[in-house]
Symmetry: C2
């Protein structure tokens, strides 16, 4: 029996009954002789509530104070979860990110973990306690609280698993595992028994929001096997690990989509060297994440630059994008929110000719116009009309006959 | 212009508008050139919400985890208040009890401040920032978060004023100052311009819950002048300080009452040496605060012991009291919740004969039966029927002609 790190998401801790359910699950593991480190997210929609309160006070929250505010959410969870465990007669202790000494850099709201000192945590483990750690948060060198940004609690769990050389790292949420496609949209979608880190990265980046890419990257780097399962059911989940036997696997592992994207077209930019570089560097400086970039040379040495950003980033960055476009002498900016991205993902793709062509054909047969295409070694993405996304996902899933049993 | 410590209570910070109002008040002081340290309580009823959540999980919360939970309330307040100040263009920073290094002992839920290291706080002040500190909380030598118990935020403010040698310590709440009696009950009650520490201690202990006795005691010890006023109005409040000119002051400064008390009578306890000591030591070990103790020897070497406790302490301690009574061979325990305590307070009492007699006569004239009496140098308290408390307070206020203008 070894050390197990488990992470429970906000939905799994949303109310008294769910906290008690999680406490009982943890105790089951503990009773088998495991040392237990549990990472907890904020309860249910508590983080959203805090963000609402914040935006009622200011449109431009100072990043340090934002983290001061948000890291209370996880602190409430760990205290209540530790109480629920102790109420059942088992020893537990809650620790915040600063108490565990999860040391981060100074990037408030999106801090990166530099090291975990962990002395206190290991002392408590040695005393036989179940240690409940606040996810999503750390502390910088000035003793200011930081948060790790989206998917932060997953990252906390993987970082702790690495630092403590854990035997297992298990991520529990309201999702039963990784599917070949969204089961809410594709009737024949199936749960995967296993998936490689790279495939998982593409799936997660593309909107299968089960496990955050940062956490996957860290798990890949440290070679930590992740287990993704539901905290509500005792069903087998999905293992994320380095899959050695690539031969004989299916070409396409899954179909994913993202409806929360916006297409932005910057029209008639003078075609001078370095213009695109200047434009995108400028956006990056404002922290705007850009995806699916395409540039077309038009008549008269004028370029059209098209790219996508997340819908949630549009509101606060609309003016920045317009000003940045003006700074490179663009004549117009067009914004289209009526788009979505559909992708196929699979480690076997690169060695199989014709996968891309087949994807485009399937969409064509469905009379779905492809607005943009981007590709990588293990994924192909197409931007299409938002209203046709369900049809696209189903048609692709059927066409590639993605089932785990055939893999 | 010097250093001002201000404390704002939970009602003053209950929502967005109130937080903004407080931010603007703080900025007014800051613009006059003051260095500002602001202590904030948890917003509105947030602490009660957290306590509700806690008791849904466990009837017997582990004290350390309780403090881990509760100290999130103030952390939310300081983050939002700091944001509201910065939104208005002034520099501010929030600090938790652990960041200020408010070092306490290990008594979770009722920790006592041992020292304030304060280096960080002074650095931020030196940089011209308004420093917003979480009230009610500290950190013990193991880096566990502690809370200071009831009135903790007042205590934080006074402790900071002492540690920083502040020029002023101002306690803002929804109360305009200290009154000669509850203005909701006594029509002619008047706000006092000033009151001595000792009088304030008696007033606070007796139910005028404006300023916690611990904070008053600490202010007295360090000789810190307190100013009590409303955060909602710009009206003159009450100064609490050592009042030198005792001569010529009124005998009775105020009338207070407490309806949240329960009378407990332990009947027929064998009259052996040490019995009362054993009984009350036992209650103290359980953390039960006892007031107004009277012991009467009855026939047959049997004693009746009567005392009062706060109503809120009755529920969880009823069984403990009964068992403790059995352990000293008492034959019966009677509980009477239909009582209230009325008191007159005044530093001039001790040198003025007949004050007590007059109090008893006034109650007699009102046909109010006195069940118990206790006295100190500056207060006299009577336990009476709860339904007659308003009449008692008014009659005493009239009889002693308590008005600040006559003092």
């Amino acid at each position: 029996m070894g050390l197990v790190v488990q992470k429970y998401g906000g939905t799994s801790l949303a109310d008294k009954n769910r906290i008690e359910n999680v406490a009982e699950r943890i105790i089951e593991y503990y009773k088998k002789g495991n040392k237990m480190v549990v990472v907890a997210s904020a309860m249910g929609d508590r983080t959203d509530q805090l963000i609402d309160q914040m935006y009622r006070i200011t449109d431009d929250p100072p990043p340090r104070e934002r983290d001061m505010l948000l890291c209370t959410g996880e602190q409430v969870s760990i205290a209540l979860l530790s109480m629920a465990i102790q109420e059942r007669g088992y020893p537990a202790i809650s620790l915040t990110g600063s108490q565990v000494k999860i040391k981060t850099d100074d990037q408030f709201n999106k801090a990166e973990i530099q090291k975990i000192e962990g002395g206190r945590l290991e002392e408590e483990l040695a005393q036989g306690k179940i240690v409940v750690v606040a996810g999503f948060q750390g502390v910088n060198s000035s003793n200011d609280f930081t948060t790790l940004g989206r998917g932060g609690s997953d990252t906390t769990a993987v970082a702790l698993a690495a630092a403590l050389d854990a035997e297992k790292c298990e991520i529990f949420s309201d999702v039963e595992g990784i599917y070949t496609a969204d089961p809410g949209i594709v009737k024949h979608a199936e749960k995967l028994d296993e998936i490689s880190y790279d495939e998982m990265l593409e799936m997660a980046n593309l909107g299968a929001e089960v496990l955050h890419p940062r956490a996957v990257e860290m798990a890949k780097y440290f070679g930590i096997e992740l287990y993704i399962a539901s905290s509500f059911k005792n069903k087998k989940g999905t293992v994320v690990r380095e899959v050695k036997k690539m031969e004989g696997r299916k070409n396409v592992t899954g179909v994913t989509f993202d409806s929360d994207v916006v297409k932005i077209t910057v029209l008639k930019v003078p075609d001078k060297p370095g213009v695109a570089g200047k434009f995108f560097t400028s956006l990056a400086d404002y922290g705007i994440n850009v995806d699916m970039i395409v540039q077309n040379l038009q008549h008269n040495n004028l370029n059209d630059i098209t790219f996508t950003i997340k819908t949630e980033e549009l509101k606060q960055n609309k003016n920045i994008i317009k000003k940045t476009a003006e700074s490179v002498s663009a004549q117009k900016v067009e914004i289209d929110e009526n788009v979505a991205k559909v992708s196929i993902v699979g480690a076997g793709m690169i060695s199989t000719p014709g996968i891309a062509a087949r994807m485009f054909s399937v969409l064509g047969e469905q009379n779905i116009n492809i607005q943009k295409i981007t590709t990588s070694d293990i994924k192909i993405s197409c931007l299409i009309d938002k209203s046709k996304i369900d049809r696209a996902v189903n048609a692709l899933h059927d066409s590639f006959q993605i089932t785990k049993t055939m893999s």
